[in-house]
Amino acid sequence: MTQPEIRVQDLHKSFGDNHVLRGIDLEIGHGEVVCVIGPSGSGKSTLLRCVNLLEEPSTGEVFVGGTEITDPDVDIDAVRRRIGMVFQQFNLFPHLNVTENLTLPQRRVLRRDKAQAARIAAENLARVGLSEKADAYPSSLSGGQQQRVAIARALAMGPEVMLFDEPTSALDPELVGDVLAVMRRLAEEGMTMMVVTHEMTFAREVADRVVFMDGGVIVEDGTPDQVIARPRHERTRHFLSRLLDPAMAEVEEGTSDQVGKPAQ
């Protein structure tokens, strides 16, 4: 592992008085798939959004592909072209059909000509298995199909890194599999991926590393086997037990500082 694809150094982020990220250090190597897990409000989405500067970090540095994107003089639009982002709510452009969703960014941002953009769009639609929906509008697609189109749209820009912000959380359970299959294929092809998710099966089987966050810090960072199967920290264990077996959770007077201490 030479230079890491993503490097986060002592990252802090506050929204007003709310200190969401409290000093994050993280490196993701080329071709690595890292799943970030943690309870809601732990700052995992904020961390992901800091990596392409959708959120401006309060302090700290973020490097992507060797470029310090937190440098105010860096051309953020140029950096973002190398970082694909997939959102929980898909965020397809509803006024454009599927093909146009893929071609417009290529043409406007990368200045590709019409034929080339169309060719790359078709390739990437095939990659996510949705060639037959090329002319459909987003509103006529299921959530799972919309999310796969969103992945294809990001891929059409030829990114070096892909960020996934809870990509299956807004989907009906039976549609999750198709999206995860696409992501698994992408991982196998060697894409560098940072995935905020609650899908433990995906994390266990696909991820090279799993990062557990809580309270704005990284609590645990290691292989899926280490973090999911043999968590060292009580907080991780507590979170995983609630996630894997939600019916067994007990009522607790939970505030964030009590998380990790099981209720009496």
């Binding site: 959708l54 639009d77 973002r80 694909g84 959102f87 965020n91 006024h95 960014p105 509103s139």
Partner: protein
Amino acid sequence: MTDTDTRIQPKKTGLTRRQKRRLSRAAQYAVFVAAVIAFAVTADWGRLQNQFAQAHIARQLFPDLITVALKNTVLYTLSGFVVGLALGMVIALMRLSSVGPYRWLAGIYIEIFRGLPALLIFIFVGVGVPLAFPSIQYPGGTYGKVAVALGLVSAAYMAETIRAGIQAVPKGQTEAARSLGFSPARAMISIILPQAFRIILPPLTNELVLLFKDSSLVLFLGVTLEERELSKFGNDLASSTANSTPILVAGLCYLLITVPLSLVVRRMESKALKEIR
């Protein structure tokens, strides 16, 4: 009966629900019929027809009614709309700017021009400005003058409409565009504005209807015979023929345009409602 005493008994009133409904409806119809009869009996039909529906006077209005008056009304309105839309767009973007003074200026503009009567602005643009700045010539003469006046009035309303439309586009759209590498300006043009305009098409069309009516304020500017629009034309011919038929006919011409436009708006709105799943 000791058990049932504790239950709440429905209070008996004089009328049942059905009876009340019937009574209310009967009363409303009765008032309506009485009003129609009263009007039919008291109106002097011969005089009304004489005053408002003189076929030979109506015929006399053609073809100028169409080729001059209606044409000018449409021209004034559309040119005012274009100026208003362009200016409104600029003001809306200023209102959303991250630069404070732009936001304040836009806010001041909107408050001033929404708060003033359109007629005052017409007189200001048509009479005040030419007197104060004799060197200023409106391009297109009266047409330019009217376009500016109507544009100034409508820009304030349109700016607020456009701003609301832009803000109605979900934040995720901007984020998706930015994450794909769009610059803020390009995201606005390619992604946000097309969606915003789809949202505000009904209110913008309503604004067009309002402008059609406001174009009648040209009446208060000195215009040549060839520059007359519907209201001025109707008014002039009503006084020259000493009859109100031209007013009625001019009014019908407005409705010919505004009623279909309103129907289109209603259609768009019900269609938009359906699209929101």
